[in-house]
Amino acid sequence: MATATTTIKRGVPPLQAGQGRSFFWRRLHSLSGIVPVGAFLLEHFVSNAFATNGPFAYRDQVKFLTSLPFVPVLEIFGIYLPLLYHALYGFYIWFRGQTNVNDYPWAGNFMYSAQRWTGAVAFIYIGWHTYTMRFTGTHLMGSGAQAAFNKVQVEMHNPWALAFYIVGITAASWHFAYGLYLFAAKWGITVSAKSRKYFGMACTAIAVTLIAVGLATIWAFVGPKWPNTPEKLPAEQTTLDGNRH
């Protein structure tokens, strides 16, 4: 092909027209944040929000999820691998970028930086959260569902853990909502400035809603409504003496 032979000795190299695979990996990163990672995030918020209906509703929701067919396959290919890919490739993107929000302190540029920081915070939080909730302590598979509410409640007795939950939920919600905005902009769904503005508002509403749902869920565990849930709820019963439900 008769491309020009000019070589630029220093500075930013020119476009490697049609060469390489980064387009595929970068677009996959973008997509993986929506499906399956974002979809799982929504499922996770909804499932945990069952706690606002009390320990028994929570027990039943955990039981439903842990009794889905092919749970290990769903976990590995639906959650762990996509999440790890999204996070690690995300760090790769971050380190190659050159944040300049000090020189150009504008909203979009601030959000560009925030998207990287919220991603990192969410990743650290998710790592810790998965470690304490999935890989250590009472396993929630099978009859473990009966211990679920108590397990979360006990963890949240630690004020540092509670604070980390609030920070992690906020960061993940923000990252997901702005990720939707970025996805729509980059894939050419919201092309006009007007559509981007309105979709930006919608994404803000999504972020606020997710954070509110998260906080309401936390309140179900730490609030006065269901204090000191027993370590193991009865398997069948739907009320506990002394607890309003």
């Binding site: 491309t3 000019t6 930013v12 476009l15 027209a17 049609g18 387009f23 050159q98 150009y104 050419g188």
Partner: protein
């Protein structure tokens, strides 16, 4: 004493030399801009402390924000020096060369990467031939109106300088080139190379490197709807990728 203005200019005699700052104090004049101030420095190249120095080297030409030569960092932001009115700037006015392009001398940098990128995406209308092809297809006013803002690009490179993704490790092509792809893909004759331009933009350093920080559209002196062009081209590139994969 007459009102004065102070300029702090980053100087560098050659690409390998150490940069140094020089301060100049000039008598204020009505309507002064950064280029006219440097013209006055050239007429009397003496620093604020009375040291004789050399005139500042910089690119400039039209002095009316249409040639794209005089882009530099003024008070930290990429913009055209000719339209940077001193009265509207915070003093001392800090003037630096664009930071992401190889330095030639003082404020002059080598921006040939943009020209190279434009060549790589074939940002032209293919009409060369051995015989007269006659007049081109008609472009309707509605299309003209959409194309015109993008045709105003002056290749100043401000959008690239301000972009957090435009750097040596990403090799990002930058907003200007993507907008030119959008422009020439819309042209009824330019369309002939549409798929080649879109395929070029899928390469390493292509459109995928955009992080949508939206600085480009903020700094663009010609108000080109760059984010819109990137979004629109992003969709076209994606469509082309699917076509290439499924249809071959």
């Amino acid at each position: 004493m007459a009102k004065t203005v102070v300029l702090k200019i980053k100087r560098q005699v050659n690409p390998d030399a150490e940069p140094r700052w020089e301060e100049f104090e000039l008598t204020w004049k009505s309507g002064m801009n950064v280029i006219s101030a440097m013209m006055e420095i050239a007429a009397n190249p003496v620093t604020r402390s009375g040291q004789p120095t050399t005139p500042v080297a910089y690119d400039s030409n039209c002095l009316e924000e249409v040639c794209g030569s005089c882009a530099m960092l003024i008070n930290g932001k990429a913009r055209m020096a000719c339209s940077a009115l001193v009265d509207k700037l915070e003093q001392p006015v800090r003037v630096e060369p664009l930071s992401k392009f190889p330095l030639v001398r003082d404020l002059a940098v080598d921006r040939s990467v943009l020209f190279e990128n434009l060549k790589r995406v074939k940002a032209w209308v293919p009409v060369d031939g051995t015989y007269d092809l006659g007049s081109g297809p008609r472009v309707y006013p509605t299309e003209q109106e959409e194309a015109y803002p993008m045709s105003r690009c002056i290749s100043c490179c401000c959008c690239m300088e301000a972009c957090p993704q435009f750097n040596e490790s990403t090799g990002f092509v930058g907003a200007a080139t993507i907008a030119q792809v959008r422009l020439f893909n819309q042209h009824p004759t330019g369309k002939a190379l549409k798929h080649e331009r879109l395929q070029a933009l899928m390469g390493d350093g292509g459109i995928q490197e955009c992080g949508f920080a939206q600085n480009c559209v903020e700094v663009c002196p010609k108000d080109i709807p760059l984010t819109k062009a990137i979004s629109d081209t992003g969709r076209e590139v994606m469509k082309q990728a699917f076509k290439d994969f499924f249809r071959g």
